[in-house]
C-alpha cells in the first residue's frame, strides 16, 4: 500500500476536516501519529456529561487495525491471543490481550469475527510485525487497515436511538444488537460495520467505515445526532469515562513487553486483572507455559481500583485554609501506595503505585487504577496513597474497590 500522506507527523484522520471545523479550542494531541482532539471546547466537561446523559461522538480512527483473512486466520489468532479465538463465532467481538513467550503482555485490544474467515484486530500499538511473525506456515493474509478505515465511537444512553434512525440494510434491527456483537449495515448508503463496543463503560457502539465514505457517514450521524443530544467529544472526556469504567490503558497503566528495558516493568495478564481473558486449557498459544507456571506459583502484582478517602483529602486542604481541589482531567503519573500503619494514619512500606486516576463527577469520588501487591487486592482493603497538597507531599487512606466503578445496566441491556 502506498502511504497517503508524506506530510510531517501527525497526520489527519479520515474525519479531520469535520473535527477541525468543530474544534474551537484548538486543543489537539498526537495519538499514534494522528491528530486527535483532546477537547472541542475549552473544557471537556460537557463532552464527558454527554457520554453519560446523551451521546458523545469520538473519532477513534488512530486505533491500529489489522484485517486477518484466510483459512489460517482463526489458527493464527488463537495462537497469538490469550482468548481461544476458535470459539469466537461470526458476528461477535471479544476483548483480550496478547503475550510474548514469557507470558508478558504486549498489548490489549479486540478481535472481531466478520465471517468467512475474516477477522479484524484492534490494537493500541503497531502489531503487524508480530502477527506476521506468528503467521509463518499458515494460509493467511494480514493487512494493516489503520489508515483505510475510519472509526467512530458513539457512546452514551441515546446512541441506540440515534443509530436506529439512520442505519439501513441490516439483517436485524440495531436495537437487537447485543453487547460485544457486530452487524453489517449501511449509513448514508455506504457499507459500515457496527459493533456494540467502546471504551466508556456505557451503552455504545463503534462504526467502522472505509476512508472514502467517512465524511458522508460522519455527516449523517452528526445531523441525526442533533435530535439526540449528540456532542462531539475528545480524548480528555474519554479518559475520565474509561477510568470510571475501570479500563486499563497500554503505556499508562502498564508497559508493553515490547518496550521494557528491564524485566520488572513487564506484567502478565493475571497481574493486569485480565486473567478472565486467558483460556489456558487448549492447544498451544503464545506464553501458555509461562502463564500456567504463574497461575500455579502466584503473581507478583495485581491491578485494582482505588477510591481515595474524601474526608482525609479535604482535611489536608482545610489545614491550609483552602477548599478541596481536584483536577477536572484524568491524571496519569505514577504515585506511590503504602501499607497503613498505626491505626491506618501513617505510611508503612511501599506496596505499589497508582498509574492513573480521575475525579468522577458522576460518582463524586476520587478514583485511581493501581498496581499493588496481591495480598492487598481484596476489595475493601484500606491502604494509603500519596497526595500533594499545596506543594507538600502527604497521604490519605484509599480503599480497594471492584471495577468497573460505574457500571450502568444499560451497558449490556
Amino acid at each position: 500500500m502506498v502511504p497517503r500522506f508524506f506530510t510531517a507527523m501527525p497526520i489527519p484522520t479520515p474525519f479531520h476536516t469535520r473535527t477541525q471545523a468543530l474544534c474551537t479550542s484548538m486543543f489537539w494531541k498526537d495519538w499514534a501519529g494522528y491528530y486527535a482532539v483532546r477537547s472541542f471546547d475549552t473544557c471537556h466537561e460537557r463532552e464527558y456529561y454527554a457520554v453519560r446523559h446523551a451521546v458523545g461522538l469520538f473519532d477513534v480512527s488512530p486505533l491500529f487495525k489489522y484485517d486477518v483473512r484466510g483459512e489460517g486466520a482463526m489458527a493464527l489468532l488463537s495462537r497469538v491471543m490469550t482468548r481461544d479465538i476458535s470459539k469466537l463465532r461470526p458476528g461477535r467481538v471479544t476483548y483480550c490481550c496478547w503475550c510474548d513467550d514469557d507470558g508478558k503482555v504486549m498489548d490489549d485490544g479486540t478481535v472481531s469475527n466478520l465471517g468467512d474467515d475474516h477477522y479484524r484486530v484492534t490494537a493500541a500499538e503497531p502489531t503487524y510485525g508480530w502477527l506476521c511473525r506468528n503467521a509463518r506456515g499458515l494460509p493467511v493474509e494480514i493487512t494493516e487497515t489503520t489508515d483505510d478505515i475510519g472509526s467512530l465511537a458513539l457512546q452514551g444512553p441515546t446512541s441506540r436511538a440515534l443509530l436506529s434512525e439512520i442505519v439501513a440494510d441490516t439483517k436485524k434491527p440495531i436495537e437487537k444488537l447485543r453487547f460485544f456483537r457486530l452487524l453489517k449495515a449501511t449509513i448514508a448508503g455506504h457499507p459500515v460495520i457496527i459493533s456494540r463496543t467502546g471504551y466508556t463503560g456505557d451503552l455504545g457502539y463503534e462504526v467502522w467505515v472505509s476512508r472514502e465514505h467517512a465524511l458522508d457517514v460522519w455527516d449523517q450521524i452528526y445531523a441525526a445526532g442533533r435530535r439526540h443530544g449528540l456532542v462531539p467529544a475528545g480524548l480528555d472526556a474519554l479518559d475520565v469515562t474509561r477510568i470510571e469504567a475501570g479500563f486499563i490503558m497500554n503505556g499508562v497503566d502498564y508497559q508493553s513487553a515490547h518496550h521494557c528495558l528491564i524485566e520488572s516493568r513487564k506484567c502478565s495478564p493475571f497481574e493486569l486483572g485480565l486473567g478472565w481473558t486467558v483460556d489456558l486449557d487448549r492447544p498451544g498459544f503464545n506464553g501458555q507455559a509461562a502463564l500456567r507456571r504463574e497461575l500455579a506459583n502466584g503473581s507478583t502484582w495485581a491491578t485494582v481500583g482505588l477510591e481515595l478517602d474524601w474526608d482525609e483529602y479535604e482535611a489536608h486542604f482545610t489545614e491550609f485554609g483552602l477548599p478541596p481541589h481536584v483536577s477536572s482531567s484524568a491524571w496519569r503519573t505514577s504515585i506511590p501506595l503504602y501499607a497503613p500503619r498505626r491505626g491506618g494514619r501513617v505510611n508503612g512500606r511501599q506496596i505499589g503505585y497508582a498509574t492513573s486516576g480521575a475525579w468522577s463527577p458522576l460518582l463524586k469520588k476520587n478514583l485511581a487504577i493501581a498496581t499493588i501487591e496481591p495480598k492487598f487486592q481484596v476489595p475493601g482493603t484500606r491502604i494509603r496513597i500519596e497526595v500533594t497538597v499545596e506543594h507538600e507531599r502527604r497521604s490519605v487512606a484509599a480503599t480497594v474497590r471492584e471495577t468497573p466503578f460505574f457500571n450502568p445496566p444499560r451497558k449490556r441491556a
Partner: protein, 551 residues
Amino acid sequence: MVAINPFNPAHPDYPGRPDKPSRSSYDAIVIGGGHNGLVAAAYLARAGRSVLVLEKRPVLGGAAVSEEVFPGFTFSVCSYVVSLFRPHIVRELELAKHGFELIPLECSFTPQPDGDALVRWADSARTRQEISRFSRKDAEIYPEFGLAMSKLSQFAKAIIDNPAPDPNAIRPREIAKLLRLGKIMQDFDGDTRHLNLKLMTSSAVDFLDQWFESEVLKSPMSVSGIIGTFLGVRSPGTAYVLLHHYMGEIDGAYRAWGFARGGTGGVSLACARSARSFGAEILTCAGVSQVNLGPDGRACGVVLENGDVINARTVVSAVDPRRTFFGLVGKQNLDDEFATQISRYKLRGSSGKVNLALDRFPDFTARPGDGPHVRGDIAIAPSIDYLERAYDQAKYGDFSERPYLNVVIPSLSDPSVAPPGKHVMSIFVQYAPYEIKEGPEFWPQRREAFGDAVIDTLSEYCPGLKDSILHRQVITPWDLEQEYGLGEGNIFHGELSVEQLLFLRPAAGWANYKTPVPGLWMCASGTHPGGGVMGAPGELAAKTLLRSGEL
C-alpha cells in the same frame, strides 16, 4: 412498543407502591416522601432501623418530582435545578448506582429588551469578554468578587454540613460547634470579616453596588438573593443568599448547579431506591392525617387518611413546620410559647412555575440558536427597577405582570425528558404571592391569567414561543400548597431569611431536628440548613436522631 416513563408509578421499577404496610410497628415512620424524607429514611435504614415512608401523592419526590405531564414529556414540575446536593450523601447512599446523575448548568444567559444579552460562562476569560461589553471595570472586578465570595463560602459550607449550634447550650458538642464556626471567622482577614457582616445585613443590590456599576450584570446577580422569599432585591437581608451561588463544590463554582437526569425527580427516585436497598418500606397514596400521641404525650405513630393506625418508636416529619405542628400534632398539644413561634414562622410563598412542552426550540432574539448559551439558566431580569416593580405589585396582593423569570430547557442537555427534537421548558416565576388580594383560594380562577402574563413576558425575548407550545402547565402557590404540600406555597418550607436560619430554624431552641413533642423529629427544609435540593436536612436529622440514642 411504548416504554413506560421511569417516573410513572406504574413502571415496574418504581420504588414506591400504594400498598398496605407490611408490619404494624416500625422503628421510624417518615411522613412525606420528598427528597429530604427519603434521604433521612435511607440513613436510618442504613443504620439497621426498620423504616416506613408515607407519601400522600401517588408519586414520590414531593417538590423534587418528575412527572410525565404530557405524553413523552417529563417535567420537573416544581424544583427544576439541583444546587448544592451534598456530594458525601451521593457517596454514602451510593446514589449513582441508583440512578443519580447531575448535569452541570453551563452558563447564565440574560437577554435584554434592546436585543443585547449577557452570558456568564464557566470559563472566566469568556465571561470577562462578555461583561466588558457593558463595563470594562466590572469585567475585571468580577473574578475578585468571586474570590471574596469563595472565602466567605467556607464559612457557609461549615454551616450547611453540620447541625446548627445552639448558643444557649453548655453541652461540649454545642460549644465545639460554635467554636468551629468562630475559628473560621477568626481566620478571616479584617476585610473579609467586614464583608461577612455586610453580607448578613445588606440588601442584594446594596451589596453588589459596592462592587459593580453595570445594571446588566447586577440585575441577574441580585435575584439569587430573593428566590423563595417575599422580599425585593432592595430589601435588607437579601445579600446573604447570594453566597449560595459561590459555595461551589470541587466541580467548580458555577457547576454547583445542575439538572438531574430525568428531571429533579431523578434525585428523589435515586434516594428512594437507595432507601429501599437498605430495607426501608415506601408507600404512596398514604396521606397522614394525624401524629398519634401516647398517654405520656410521646409520639407513638400515625393515623392515615384512610383511618389506618401505624405505630412507631419515632416519627420523623418531612413536611413543613406549620403543617407538622398545627396540622398533624395539633395546637392543643403544644405549649403556648412554641405554638406562637410556629405561627410566626414565615412561609408566605412568592413564586410559581410554568412548565411547557415545546414542539421545537424557539429562538431568543438576542442570540438565536440552541447553542451552549441556552443550556444553562436563562434569566429575565433586565434591570433592578424591573425587579423592584415586580415586587411592588406583589406587596399589594397581585402577581407581577412582568415578573422575574428563570428559565431552563433541560432537554437540550438531557434528551431523556422529551421526544427527539422536542423540548421541555421550565419557567420559575417570581412574584406570585400566596396571599393575593382576593384570597389564596381564588388562585385557581387567576391561574390562566398568571400563565398568560408569564408567556407574554417571555415572548418579548423569545417571539416564537407561543407557536411552539404543545402543552402548558401553570402552577400557582395555591397548587404548590394543595397538591405538593408546601405550606403557603413556600418552596423552602419557610423563608430563607436570616432571622429564620441556623439556630432559629424553625424555632429558637428547637433547631436540632428534635421537637417539643417527645419522639417527634423533623428532617426537611424547614430545619437547618434549609431549602434547596441539597439533602442536608434529611442527612443531618437522621444522623442526629441516631446519635441521640432515642432510636
